[in-house]
Assembly symmetry: C2
Homo-oligomer: 250 residues x 2
Amino acid sequence: MTSDPTPVRPVEVDRTSPVPLYYQVATRLQELIESGEIGVGDRIENEVDLADRLGVSRPTTRRAIQYLVERGMLVRKRGVGTQVVHPKVRRPVELSSLYDDLIAGDQRPRTAVLSLKVVPADAKVAAALNLVPGAEVTLIERLRYAGDEPLALMHNAIPLDILDFKHEELEVRGLYELLRRAGRVPRMATQVIGARNATMAEANMLGEKRGASLLTMARTAWDDRGRALEYGSHLYRASRYSFELNLSAG
Amino acid sequence: MTSDPTPVRPVEVDRTSPVPLYYQVATRLQELIESGEIGVGDRIENEVDLADRLGVSRPTTRRAIQYLVERGMLVRKRGVGTQVVHPKVRRPVELSSLYDDLIAGDQRPRTAVLSLKVVPADAKVAAALNLVPGAEVTLIERLRYAGDEPLALMHNAIPLDILDFKHEELEVRGLYELLRRAGRVPRMATQVIGARNATMAEANMLGEKRGASLLTMARTAWDDRGRALEYGSHLYRASRYSFELNLSAG
DNA sequence: GTCAATACTTTGTCCTGACAAAGTCTTGTG
DNA sequence: CACAAGACTTTGTCAGGACAAAGTATTGAC
């Protein structure tokens, strides 16, 4: 015996809006769940009835539900129904930079550009960016602060034809923001997260002691068309930063 | 001027098979891309023609393509077409355990169960597992080896009603494998990855020196119905292990 | 009462058809 | 030649219908 499904209250869709119907429905459902009107464990109304009541087709309703399933809010089971499993959207790991993360967390990031130069790519960078060895890249070294505390030491290599950087801009905006503004939208990335002990030089720059634990993150990002945009090799103070991920298995 | 789209060679779908059509189509496309018959950067045939030629409907074709888009192989653009951006599927972060990873990497894992007991959950564990404080959980402490080298020190807490563990089984099988066999399938997890320096005791167990950098990973896993299955707090030798992730932005 | 067969509910797959929106290419005008 | 208007291509959204498959609940036989 399962409890009766919670009927979704008057949801009106706006057919004059440019926002897709399925998205309107998904958003409304998401609100109801986030606000707690539909609680975790509750079953929502079945697709057919819901579609009828909203005045949209079943495929549209299915698509809305699918959208929330992919975000980890709902779980469907054939013959059973659709249940709420989590009260807020769990986004998969974000493709954003530390700068964006800090902005989102109200941390007043500040960036010092330590060096900015064009050099031939070394073997590792060339391999990561899929360039011929010796091709020129922009090498950037930055130190990022959160408030007044240093947080991360970042090294990036960007192929020359992707974008040419201005020192001043990099102090004010994040690398990913600059890339996006230039129409180089990162779409995919592979990351490797590890850790090691700080060298003396690294410790000094980051305000840690020699040997302190540092998180390492190496990332290559690609755009739409599969062009490598950026290779980054970063060091984070483990005492101040960690990576959060949400995983879901299909 | 873009090059002409690569036509997909004779693909026949099998309507007697229980495998969904969209999945058959997606699999076939994936093979063509992985084998290199359709190269990175190539455009594939448009949805309408492809559907016609395969003898399936356009929604079915779209669904197949969508499947590969979500896996980072293809990119679609309205008015332009669908392009190959990556020659193999990039799965999002896997919901698997270290044991599975090692098996997949041919590393002959071995596990020593250091302790296995039932105790009341402390505040942190109770919060992570969404239990009332004081509810009983199984606490497991294990040391994992890859070959002969110690690799990770793992602490897990599992609510009593999820599964009761036998010492011998844990030595032979991974925790996630046992959960799955018991019908407790992990569906979702949140992880936090950080790092810190090893204490003397940790260093001794892991065969590192005191102060060596360790990767920390804390994870809570949920099943289908949103029940918390497991809270794990693990330590990895940073000198021997790192986390790899693939990210993609919608 | 127990257990298997049956009916019912609900999601999964698939089809056809239609129009909208965003790019790209062509064409014609100044 | 430059540039804007329009034609064309291609993906995006949406409808409505049909049947399949997997659970759940009910019923009936023993």
